[in-house]
C-alpha cells in the first residue's frame, strides 16, 4: 500500500508492505524501517522498529489520527483523502479573512453593531476560553452585514461569527489575493 501522510505541515510519501510473517516494511522517503507490532487495545499499540520497542497511544480524530510518541502528540492525516474531501487549511502566513474564533470559546462582548463600518484591524468581537480573552479583528475595511452570534454563545473554530462586506475601494489587491478569494468561493 502507498500512502501520502500529512504530518506537522509536511507530506511524506510512505510505502508499506505487510509480510506474511507479520513484519511491516515501511519506506518513508529515503528511509526504510522494519517493524513488528502488537495491537494492545483500541488506543494502544506496541511497535518494534528496527529492534527498539515502544508503546504508542492513538485515537481517531475527525480528519486523521492522533498519535502519541514519547509524550508528543502528532496529528497524522491521509493527504489523498484530505484532497478528495476538499479540506483546505489556511497557511499560517495568510491572514484570517473571516471572523472565527481560534479556539472553542464563549462570546464575551460584541463590540460593533450591524450596519457599522469597521476599519481593517479594528476589534469587533471578544471571545474567551479558560479565562483567556481573545479579541477578533476585522480582516479588512468594510460594513458589518450580519452578526451571527449573541453574547454568551459557545462558539467553535471555523464558525463565522460575523459577516463583513469588504469595501469596494480596497483596490490595491494583488492578483494573488484575488485568486485566493476565488478559490474560496
Amino acid at each position: 500500500m502507498d500512502y501520502n501522510l500529512k504530518i506537522g505541515g509536511q507530506i511524506l510519501p510512505v510505502e508499506a508492505d505487510l509480510k506474511d510473517d507479520g513484519t511491516l516494511l515501511a519506506r518513508i522517503g529515503e528511509k526504510s524501517f522494519t517493524t513488528r507490532y502488537q495491537i494492545i487495545s483500541e488506543k494502544q499499540i506496541h511497535i518494534d522498529v528496527e529492534g527498539i520497542g515502544m508503546n504508542v497511544y492513538l485515537a481517531d480524530n475527525d480528519d486523521g489520527k492522533l498519535i502519541n510518541i514519547h509524550g508528543t502528540t502528532y496529528l497524522v492525516q491521509d493527504a489523498d483523502t484530505l484532497e478528495r474531501s476538499g479540506t483546505r487549511k489556511r497557511s499560517s502566513k495568510e491572514l484570517p479573512q473571516e471572523i472565527t474564533p481560534p479556539m472553542p470559546s464563549v462570546v464575551e462582548c460584541i463590540m460593533v453593531a450591524e450596519g457599522d463600518v469597521v476599519e481593517k484591524g479594528q476589534s469587533v468581537i471578544m471571545v474567551s476560553a479558560m479565562k483567556m480573552e481573545v479579541k477578533l479583528q476585522a480582516p479588512f475595511k468594510g460594513k458589518v452585514l450580519k452578526i451571527n452570534v449573541a453574547e454568551g454563545d459557545k462558539v467553535m473554530p471555523g464558525q463565522i461569527l460575523m459577516d463583513i462586506e469588504r469595501e469596494e475601494e480596497d483596490e490595491r489587491k494583488t492578483q494573488e489575493e484575488i485568486t485566493q478569494e476565488k478559490e474560496k468561493i
Binding site: 511491516l24 489520527k65 498519535i67 502528540t73
Partner: protein
Amino acid sequence: MFEKILIANRGEIVVRIIATCREMGIKTVAVYSDADRSALHVLEADEAVYLGPSAPAESYLNMDKIIAAAKQTGAQAIHPGYGFLAENYLFVQRCKDDGIVFIGPPAQAVRDLGDKTVARQTMINSGVPVIPGMMQAEADPDVLMKEAELIGYPVLIKAAAGGGGKGMRIVHSAGDLREATESASREAKSAFGNGAIYLEKYLHQPRHVEFQILADAHGNVIHLLERECSIQRRHQKIIEETPSTALTPKLREEMGKAAVAAARASNYVNAGTVEFLVDHDGKFYFLEVNTRLQVEHPITEMITGIDLVRQQIEIAAGNPLKFSQADIVGRGHAMECRIYAEDPLSAFLPSPGKIHFLNEPKGPGIRNDSGVYSGYTVPMEYDPILSKLITHAESRQECINRMSRALKDYAVLGVLTPIPFLKDILSSEAFIKGETYTDFIDKHFAEWHPAMEGVDLACIAYIVDTMANHRAKNNFIQTDGESYSPWQTLGNFRP
C-alpha cells in the same frame, strides 16, 4: 477532629484534598456546576452537591450556595482549595458567622494580605524589604501616569486583589500605559470582582522564590523552605522546583526568617506562602503573601515529607504543630510541571475538549496530581489546568532526568498540552545550568518549535493502526443486541 469537610473548589486540587481527608478518616463533600457533572472531583468525593450553572458567579463563587451545601450535608469545615473563594475574606467571615470552620487563615489576615498595598505597608513596618512602588490602588489614569513617571519605566501594573498573573502588565513607555491600565483593570475585575490596580517598579531578570510557611493558633510559626517558580509564561508559573539554585544557605536562612516575620506581622494562622523576587545580587524583595494552599505545594511535600493539607486541617482543628523549625529538613530535589490544556504551537491558546485517551506516568519518585481521566471533556469555562506532574530525586539533574522520562510517558490524546514544550525546556542548557529567571521563556523559547523527532514513528504507527483497523473491521461484524457467534468473531482466526 472534623468528621466531614466540604471542598469548595473543582478539579485536581479537590482530588488531592480528598486523598488526605480519606487517610485521616474524614468524609468529603464535593460541589459542582453544570459543566462539572462528571468531573473527577465529583466522582471521587463521598458526597457531591450541585451548585448551579457553569458561570463561577452562579456556582463556585456563590457563597450562599456553598454555605447551604455545607449545612445540608453536615460538613463542619470548608477547604477552599486555591482560586475561587480561597482568598476572599468575606467568605472566611461568612463561614465563621455560620459556625463553619474555614480551613485557612482568619478573615483579618486574608483581608490585609489580600489587599496588596496594605500587605506592602505591613511588611515595610516589620522590616521586610519591598519593591519600590505605589502604596495604594488608583483608578485615575492621570494619577497613574504621574506615579509611573516617579517610579520610572518599565513599570509593572498589578491588581490589588491579584494573583496568578491576572491583571498584570509590563509597561515600557508612557504611550502604552493608558491602554494597559484599562485592560489590566478589566481583567482584574472579571477575575476577582475588583478592578483596582497599582504600579510597581519592574525588576530586570529577577527570580521568583517563595517560602512555604505554617502557623498554628498557638503562636508557632515555621517555614518549610523555598520553591523557585521563575519559569513563567504570561506570569503563570509552569515549572517549579525546590531547592532553588540561587539560594545559598545564608540567603535561605535570611529569607526564611523574613517569611516567618511576614507571617507574624499579619497574625497569620494556617498554611501560607510568602513570595519574593531575588535579584542578581542576591537581594530579595517581598512580593505578596498567598493566603492559601499553593498550586505548587507538592514539591515542598516531596522534599520535607510533610503533608501540607493534613497540616492545614490539623491547624484549623486547633491542634499545635508537632514539629519546630529545627525539624524541617529538605531531602533531595523536587520539581513540578503544570500540564495545561493549551496549544503550544498556537500561542498557547486554550484547548478545551474531550480527552480521548490518557496514559499517566508512573514509577519511582513520580507523583501526578490530576483532575481528569480518559473520556473526560475538559470544559471551556474554567482554568486550563489538567494536572501537575511532580518528580523527586536525590539531585537536581536526576530530578530533571526523572521529569523528562515521566513527560515522555505522559500521553494525552484529544486536548493539546505543553508536554513537548516542557520536554524541550528540561533538556535546554540554560535550564540544566539553573539559569532560571522570570524572563526565561521570552529569552530562550520565544521562537520555539517542536523537534518533530517522532515523525517517522508516527507514520509507522498510523499505518499499523490503519491496517489493523481494516482487518478488525473485516473480522468483527457488529451485531447490536445479539450475542456474538463464534463463527463471526473467530472468522479469520489463524492457528
